[in-house]
C-alpha cells in the first residue's frame, strides 16, 4: 500500500520521547553557528541579544523537538552548550 | 633497579668518555639520548652497552635537537637523564637547553669540545664552546658548567653534574675536551654507597594544592613528575607558579627570569669549586681549566724551582664563573696568565674580575695543548 494512503499510526502516542533540557552559556558563545546549522531537528536559532563577547548566542526555538542527540554539545568549539535529559543527574551547577 | 654490583667499583684503567659514562651510571642516570659525533661517540657507545645492564634506557635519536628534547621528556617522567655531544650537536641543542632552563628540567649535557667554527676539526682538542655553554640559547638565564682535567674527573664531575642539576633543577654541562675524553688513565671508583648522589626535591603538598613552579627559600620549586598524581602544566612560555602561560605580564616575566638566574647566582658559593695550588704568596697566577691546567701545574712547579713565586688557580666550575676567587688572587698577584685552547674566551671573564691586574692570554688553536715549557716561558717573562 503506497505511503500516502497511511493513516496516523495507532500507537504513535505510545512512543515516549525523553524530554530534553538545553543549557547554553551565552557568554562563552562566539557565534560560529555550528550548533544552529547542524542541529538535525532545527531546535536552535540565533537570538537577537548580545553577549559579553558582543555576539548573538543561540536561543532555543522549541525544546520539545530536541531528541538529545548531543551533536550541538560535541560540535561546539567553545563548550558553550550541552543537553541533558530532563530530571537526569547531569544538572548544571548554578 | 638495584645499583649494587652493577655499578663499576674499584680501580680501573679507562678512557675519559667511558669514565664519564660510568660516572653517569654511578650518579643514577638511567636515560641517555644522543646522536653519534666525534669525539663524544664513545660515551654513547659505552652507555648503549651499559644502560641495559643497569636497567636504564639508551636511545639514539634522529638528531641532537631530538636528543635534547627526549632528555627533557625523560627527566619529566622522573629519570635522571643526559646526552653527550660535541660543538655542532651542542649548537643544535641550544634551543631545547633553553626549554630545560625555562621548565627547570634537571639534566646533564656533556660537550666534548673540538675545533670550530662549524664542522671545524672533529679530531682536535679545543676549549671553544666555553661561552656557548653560558650564552648559547636565547634570553637571560644561568646554567652550571664543569671542566674536568683528568679521566678521574670525567667520572667525578659527571656525578657532580647530576647532583647539581637535580639540586637546582638546571641543565648542567660537562665541558670536556678531546684529550681528557680520549686519554686512558687510572680511575678509582669508590663503593657505590660511598658515592654521594642527590635526587630532585619532591613536593610534600597534596596534589590539589601543588604549584609546580612555586619555589621554596632555595628558589628551587619541588618537582613532581608525570604519573605521580600531580596533574600540572609546564610550558616554554613565560608562566606563573601554576605553570600557566602569562605571556604579556611584565611582573610574571620579571619574577620568573630573575628567579631562574638567582637560584644559581645566589647559590654560587655552594656550587663553585676551584683548585688552588701554591697560591698563598703567588705574584704570578696562572688561571687554567681542563687539560691545559695540567700543563700549567707542572709549569708552576718548575717556576717555583727557579724561585719564581708562581701559583695555579684551576677552575673546576666554569659557570657560574668563580669571580670571587679570581678577584681575590688578582689582588695579591702582579699579573695573571690565562692559557686557553681558543682565541680568547674565558680570559675575558678573568680580565673583568682581575680589574687593574694585568692578564696575559696564551692562545692555542688547532694544535696540541700548551706544553709546560710554553707556560713556564710566559711565567719567566712576567715583567715584560
Amino acid at each position: 500500500m503506497p505511503e500516502r494512503l497511511w493513516r496516523k499510526p495507532l500507537d504513535a502516542e505510545k512512543v515516549i520521547k525523553p524530554k530534553a533540557e538545553i543549557h547554553i552559556f551565552k557568554d562563552q558563545c562566539k557565534e560560529c553557528g555550528y550548533c544552529i546549522s547542524f542541529c538535525p531537528m532545527k531546535v536552535l536559532e540565533e537570538s537577537d541579544e548580545i553577549n559579553a563577547r558582543g555576539v548573538h548566542p543561540p536561543r532555543v526555538v522549541d525544546e520539545s523537538k530536541c531528541i538529545i542527540c548531543g551533536f550541538c554539545t560535541s560540535v561546539c568549539p567553545d563548550f558553550a552548550i550541552f543537553v541533558t535529559e530532563k530530571n537526569s543527574k547531569e544538572k548544571p551547577i548554578q | 633497579m638495584t645499583r649494587k654490583g652493577i655499578v663499576l667499583e674499584g680501580v680501573h684503567f679507562l678512557n675519559g668518555d667511558v669514565a664519564c659514562a660510568e660516572g653517569a651510571i654511578a650518579a643514577g642516570c638511567r636515560f641517555f639520548a644522543g646522536y653519534p659525533i666525534t669525539p663524544a661517540t664513545e660515551i654513547a657507545e659505552h652507555l648503549a652497552q651499559r644502560m641495559p645492564e643497569v636497567g636504564g634506557i639508551y636511545i639514539q635519536m634522529e638528531d641532537e635537537i631530538a636528543s635534547m628534547a627526549a632528555v627533557i621528556g625523560a627527566s619529566y617522567s622522573g629519570l635522571k637523564s643526559m646526552t653527550a655531544t660535541s660543538g655542532p650537536g651542542f649548537s643544535l641543542m641550544q634551543e631545547n637547553i633553553g626549554l630545560a632552563v625555562m621548565t627547570e628540567a634537571p639534566c646533564v649535557v656533556v660537550d666534548v669540545m673540538r675545533g670550530g667554527p662549524s664542522t671545524g676539526q672533529p679530531t682536535m682538542p679545543s676549549q671553544q664552546d666555553v661561552m656557548q655553554a653560558k650564552w648559547g640559547s636565547h634570553g637571560d638565564y644561568e646554567i652550571v658548567a664543569l671542566a674536568p682535567c683528568s679521566v678521574q674527573e670525567m667520572f667525578d664531575l659527571t656525578v657532580e653534574a647530576f647532583n647539581l642539576s637535580e639540586t637546582y633543577r638546571v641543565p648542567t654541562m660537562v665541558l670536556a675536551d678531546e684529550i681528557v675524553a680520549h686519554m686512558w688513565e687510572k680511575v678509582v671508583i669508590p663503593p657505590a654507597e660511598d658515592i654521594k648522589t642527590v635526587n630532585r626535591k619532591k613536593p610534600n603538598a597534596p596534589p590539589d594544592e601543588y604549584l609546580p613552579f612555586m619555589p621554596d627559600d632555595s628558589l628551587v620549586p619541588p618537582m613532581a613528575c608525570f604519573g605521580e598524581g600531580f596533574s600540572f602544566h609546564a610550558t616554554g612560555l613565560t608562566h606563573d607558579e601554576h605553570g600557566y602561560p602569562k605571556t604579556s605580564s611584565s611582573e610574571v616575566q620579571q619574577q620568573l627570569v630573575r628567579r631562574l638566574c638567582d637560584k644559581i647566582r645566589l647559590n654560587a658559593d655552594r656550587i663553585i669549586r676551584v683548585q688552588e695550588v701554591m697560591l698563598e704568596d703567588a705574584d704570578v697566577v696562572v688561571v687554567a681549566y681542563g687539560i691545559v691546567a695540567r700543563a700549567a701545574l707542572s709549569a708552576v712547579r718548575k717556576a717555583r724551582e727557579e724561585g719564581i713565586k708562581a701559583g695555579l688557580l684551576r677552575l673546576v666550575t666554569l659557570w657560574p664563573f668563580p669571580e670571587v676567587q679570581v678577584a681575590k688572587y688578582a689582588e695579591q698577584a702582579e699579573m695573571m696568565i690565562v692559557p686557553e685552547m681558543n682565541y680568547g674566551q674565558l680570559v675575558r671573564e678573568v680580565q673583568r674580575a682581575a680589574k687593574e691586574t694585568p692578564v696575559r692570554f696564551l692562545s692555542k688553536l688547532g694544535e696540541e695543548p700548551h706544553t709546560p715549557m710554553e707556560i713556564l716561558e710566559s711565567i719567566r717573562r712576567r715583567d715584560q
Binding site: 499510526p9 495507532l10 500507537d11 520521547k17 538535525p40 | -
Partner: protein, 812 residues
C-alpha cells in the same frame, strides 16, 4: 559457422514430395472453412504429392497418418494447415522426426487463429484465404533445408526475483533439487504479502506460523543465496546463459547483528511501519517484523538523521554492543551467472481512494482488507484487538464491501482478483470467532467460492450469522457524531434499497500488477496481458513459462492467485527450470544466419545491427564470422545485408519471397501482405483469433521471428507484385524479444516511406504496427483501418508501384 556453398535448390537433392494435411479441428476450422475444398486445392500445388483433410491432425491418429505417409509415400516435405504454429509446431515437428524427416522440413499454415476464428461469418472468403495460406506454406516448404541444431551449455544456477511465498517455495524446491538459487527481494525481509496476513483460507491456520519456518529454511539453506534489500538492475544473455546485475543496497547493519533491538529502543526517529500498512510505528533503525529473514536490522536512510556520511546522532552506534552498525556501508553491484530465471514479483493491492464514493482516507473508520489483517493479527499494532481507528473501540458492527477495484470497467480493473471473496469470508469468521455478538455484513456482486473447501467455509459463515447482501453500496456516509457509517445501495436479489449502519467498513481491495512490472518486463523482454500481469507462453500448455526461453513465472506476478495456487505454481516453475538445468544443455534453433562468402563485400553493416554482437568481421579472410551460441535468431543482419551475403536459415530471402509471390499470385490488388514478428504481432493476431475478433479477410500474415528480419526488398517485392498494402508489425519499441532489433525495423520502414513519397506513391499503403501479444484488438482494428485505405487504392497507383519496384522482381 553455418555456410551453404551451393545456391538453394529444391529439397535435399532429389525431387520434392510434399504432403499437405488440412485439419478441421472439430468445427473450429471446418465451421467456417471448407477443408475438403482446401485439401483438393492443395493437391494441385507444385511439388504436392498428396493432400488430406482430417478432424484432428494433432491427435495421435492424425500424427500417425503423417508418419506413415512420410515412410510409405516417401514424403520429404510436410505442411499442416491447422492452428497457430505457436501452439502445435513442436508437436508436428516431433512427429516428422519420429518418421525420420528432418523437423526443419515442416511448415504450418495457421488457418484457425488467423482465418476460421476471425472470419466466422464469411465461409467463402475464409476458404479462399485458407487456400492462400496453404499455398504460401507449400511455396515455403519447397525451399526449406534440413538443418541441425547446435547445443549450448546451461549454467546450473537459478535467479528468483521476489521473496514472497512463491519465490521462497521456488528457491527451496530448486535448492533441494541441488541447484544454486539466488533469491532477490527488494524489501528488507522475505515473506511478502503472506507474512502480513493473519489467517489463511479455507483452513484458517495462522499465516506467519506456517510461513516462518519456510522463511528461515530459505535463510539458512546452503543452496540459497538470499539477497534482501536488493534489486535486479540488468539482465543480459539468453536461455541457459543469463548474466544478471543485482544492486545490493546497504543495510548499514552488518551480519554480526544479534537482533537484540537495543538500537531501535534508543533511536529517536519514528516512522510508520510499511509492514503494518502504516498502522504501527517503527524506528529509523528497525526490523520490519519479529520473524523477519534475515533478522539483521536495517537503517532507513530516508528517515535516519545521519545524512551524507556525517553522523549527527550516534545513539544506535553506542547502543550496539556488537558494533554491527556502520554508516559507511556502500551499495554493491553483484554479477550473477544463471541459467534460468523465475519471476515471482507478486502483486500490489488496489488503491481505494480512486473510488470516491467509499470515502477511503476521508472517513477514519473505512479501512482496507490489508489494514484489517494487521488489526486482527495478534502481532499487529492493536495486539489482535479489532478496533476502529476513530475511537479505538471494538466495533459492534462491521461491513465488508467486495470487488473494490475488481470486475468493473469504471472503478479499477476489469478482472476478478480471485482471492477477495474467500478472504472476506475468512475475515468475517475471524470476527465472529473473537466477538460473536458483532454484526457482520458482506456486500458483494457474486460470491466466488470455487476452490477446495471454499464452499464449506462460505456456508459456515452464513451459519455463523454473517449477512451476505448482493449489491454494492452506492455510497458511504459518515455520522459526524458517532463516526459510524451509513451504507446505501440496492439489494439486487430482493430488488429493494438497503440502508445499513455499521461502526466500521472494510474495503475488500483487489490485486493489481506491481508498479514496477514494466521495468521487470523490459529487463527480461517479457509480454504482459491487457490487465498488466505477465503473460505465459501458452495459457494451457505452458502456463508457467514465459515466451522468452529460460524464464518462468510463479505467484501473483502472472495473475492474482491465493497462497495454495502460488505455491503450486512456484513448484511448477521450479520443476520447469529444473528440467532445463538437469539437461545441462539447450539447443539453439537452427535459425541462425547462413553466410555466402562470395557475395560478402565486408562492409560490416551486419555486425553493426546485431543486438547480440554475434557477428564479427574478419577483414583479412574477407568474411563474417557467426557465433551461433550467441545469436538470438532475429535475422535483422540478413535484412541489413545489401548483397544477400547473409540470410536467416529457415527464413531465407528465397523462402519469404516465395511466400510473398504465393500471396500475390492472384488478385494482389485486393490483398494486404502482413509481416508479423513471432512474439508480439503474430501472437497478437493469434489472440485476436482466440478472442474471435472479426476483421476483413484480405490480410495474409507472413511470420518472421522478428520484425527486424523484414528486409526492404520484401516490401518492394510485394508492391512490385501488385499488392495493395503491406503491413510490418512487431513488438513495441523497448519490448523487442531480440533486445532492440525492432529499432532497425523502424529505420527501414521510415526509409521506405521517404522513398515512396519521393516517388509519388501513397505511403499510407505501407503501415507499421507495434502490437503486443495481448493486443489482438489493436491488430484487428489496424486491418480494418487498412481495408478502408485499400479500397481507395486505384489500379493506376497499383501499376505505378509495380513499375517503381519492378527491380525487386529480380530478387531472390
Amino acid at each position: 559457422m553455418t555456410e551453404s556453398k551451393q545456391p538453394e535448390t529444391k529439397g535435399g537433392g532429389s525431387e520434392t514430395r510434399i504432403g499437405v494435411y488440412v485439419c478441421h479441428c472439430g468445427l473450429n476450422i471446418a465451421g467456417s472453412v471448407d477443408c475438403e475444398d482446401v485439401a483438393k486445392f492443395a493437391a494441385t500445388l507444385p511439388g504436392v504429392v498428396l493432400a488430406k483433410d482430417n478432424r484432428y491432425t494433432c491427435s495421435d491418429q492424425g500424427q500417425e497418418i503423417i508418419k506413415n505417409d512420410i515412410r510409405e509415400q516417401k514424403l520429404n516435405r510436410v505442411v499442416v494447415a491447422s492452428c497457430s504454429p505457436r501452439l502445435h509446431e513442436p508437436t508436428f515437428r516431433k512427429a516428422c522426426e519420429e518418421a525420420g524427416l528432418n523437423k526443419y522440413l515442416f511448415e504450418m499454415a495457421n488457418i484457425r487463429e488467423h482465418c476460421s476464428w476471425v472470419h466466422l461469418h464469411d465461409r467463402v472468403a475464409a476458404t479462399e484465404k485458407a487456400k492462400d495460406l496453404v499455398s504460401m506454406a507449400v511455396a515455403k516448404v519447397a525451399l526449406l533445408q534440413p538443418s541441425e541444431e547446435i547445443e549450448v551449455p546451461i549454467t546450473r544456477k537459478a535467479l528468483i526475483i521476489g521473496g514472497g511465498v512463491a519465490g521462497i517455495q521456488a528457491a527451496l524446491d530448486l535448492a533441494d533439487t541441488g541447484y544454486k538459487a539466488y533469491l532477490v527481494e527488494k524489501e528488507p525481509s522475505i515473506g511478502g504479502m503472506m507474512a502480513r496476513i493473519d489467517k489463511t483460507f479455507p483452513t484458517m491456520d495462522c499465516s506467519i506460523c506456517i510461513l516462518a519456518p519456510k522463511m528461515s529454511d530459505a535463510g539458512h539453506h546452503s543452496g540459497i543465496e538470499l539477497l534482501s534489500n536488493s534489486e535486479v538492475l540488468e539482465v543480459k544473455g539468453y536461455i541457459g546463459n543469463f548474466r544478471v546485475k543485482v544492486l545490493k543496497k546497504p543495510r548499514y547493519v552488518k551480519k554480526d547483528c544479534s537482533a537484540c533491538g537495543e538500537c531501535s529502543k534508543v533511536c529517536p526517529v519514528i516512522a510508520p511501519n510499511e509492514f503494518d500498512a502504516g498502522l504501527a510505528v517503527r524506528h529509523a533503525i528497525y526490523t520490519p517484523f519479529a520473524q523477519a529473514v534475515p533478522s539483521t536490522y536495517i537503517i532507513d536512510m530516508n528517515k535516519c538523521l545521519n545524512k551524507d556520511g556525517v553522523i549527527v546522532c550516534d545513539k544506535c552506534l553506542k547502543a550496539c554492543e556488537r558494533e554491527a552498525i556502520s554508516f559507511e556501508m556502500k551499495p554493491e553491484t553483484l554479477e550473477l551467472d544463471v541459467g534460468t530465471i523465475i519471476v515471482a514479483t507478486g502483486a500490489d493491492t488496489f488503491d481505494p481512494t480512486t473510488i470516491q464514493r467509499y470515502k477511503y482516507g476521508k472517513y477514519p473508520n473505512v479501512i482496507t482488507s490489508l489494514e484489517f489483517e494487521r488489526l486482527i493479527n495478534a502481532g499487529g499494532p492493536s495486539g489482535g484487538h479489532l478496533i476502529r481507528p476513530s475511537d479505538m473501540q471494538i466495533p459492534a458492527s462491521v461491513a465488508f464491501v467486495q470487488c473494490v477495484g475488481s470486475r468493473s470497467d469504471k472503478d479499477g480493473r476489469l478482472y476478478c482478483s480471485n482471492v477477495c471473496c474467500m478472504n472476506t469470508i475468512k475475515d468475517s469468521l475471524l470476527i465472529k470467532e473473537h466477538w460473536p455478538e458483532t454484526e457482520v455484513y458482506v456486500f458483494y456482486v457474486d460470491i466466488r467460492a470455487y476452490g477446495k473447501g471454499f464452499e464449506d467455509l462460505y456456508r459456515r459463515a452464513k451459519r455463523e450469522g454473517v449477512k451476505f447482501v448482493r449489491g454494492l453500496p452506492a455510497e458511504v456516509v459518515e455520522d459526524k457524531k458517532t463516526n459510524s457509517l451509513w451504507l446505501v445501495g440496492e439489494n439486487t436479489l430482493q430488488k429493494e434499497l438497503y440502508k445499513a449502519n455499521v461502526d466500521m467498513v472494510v474495503l475488500s481491495v483487489g490485486l493489481e500488477p506491481r508498479k514496477d512490472s514494466e521495468m521487470i518486463q523490459r529487463l527480461l523482454t517479457l509480454s504482459r496481458t491487457q490487465d498488466g500481469f505477465f503473460m505465459e507462453a501458452h495459457p494451457k500448455l505452458r502456463p508457467v513459462d514465459a515466451a522468452t526461453g529460460g524464464i518462468f513465472f510463479a505467484g501473483c506476478a502472472e495473475a492474482p492467485k491465493d497462497i495454495k495456487d502460488s505455491v503450486t505454481q512456484a513448484s511448477a516453475a521450479a520443476a520447469r527450470a529444473g528440467i532445463l538445468m538437469a539437461k545441462g544443455r539447450v539447443t539453439v534453433e537452427a535459425i541462425t544466419p547462413l553466410f555466402y562468402a562470395e557475395k560478402c563485400k565486408t562492409c560490416g553493416l551486419c555486425t553493426k545491427v546485431c543486438p547480440y554482437n554475434a557477428l564479427t568481421l574478419n577483414k583479412d579472410l574477407k568474411r563474417v564470422e557467426v557465433i551461433e551460441a550467441a545469436c538470438g535468431g532475429c535475422g535483422t543482419c540478413s535484412a541489413e545485408c545489401p548483397f544477400g551475403a547473409l540470410t536467416q536459415n529457415h527464413f531465407t530471402d528465397a523462402q519469404v519471397l516465395a511466400q510473398i509471390d504465393a500471396v500475390t499470385a492472384n488478385e494482389p490488388e485486393k490483398k494486404i501482405v502482413a509481416f508479423c514478428c513471432n512474439w508480439c504481432a503474430y501472437a497478437g493476431a493469434d489472440f485476436a483469433g482466440v478472442s474471435r475478433m472479426q476483421y476483413p479477410p484480405n490480410v495474409r500474415v507472413i511470420r518472421t521471428m522478428c520484425s527486424g528480419r523484414v528486409s526492404p526488398k520484401f516490401v518492394e517485392r510485394a508492391f512490385a507484385r501488385g499488392a495493395a498494402s503491406v503491413m510490418v508489425a512487431g513488438c513495441h519499441i523497448g519490448d523487442c524479444h531480440y533486445i532492440n532489433a525492432n529499432i532497425q525495423t523502424q529505420k527501414r520502414v521510415e526509409r521506405l516511406w521517404k522513398k515512396m513519397e519521393q516517388l509519388g506513391l501513397n505511403k499510407e499503403r505501407l503501415q507499421l504496427l507495434w502490437a503486443s501479444a495481448a493486443e489482438g484488438e489493436r491488430f484487428a482494428s489496424k486491418v480494418r483501418e487498412m481495408q478502408t485505405t485499400l479500397e481507395k487504392v486505384t489500379p493506376e497507383e497499383i501499376q505505378m508501384a509495380k513499375k517503381t519496384f519492378e527491380k525487386a522482381l529480380g530478387e531472390n
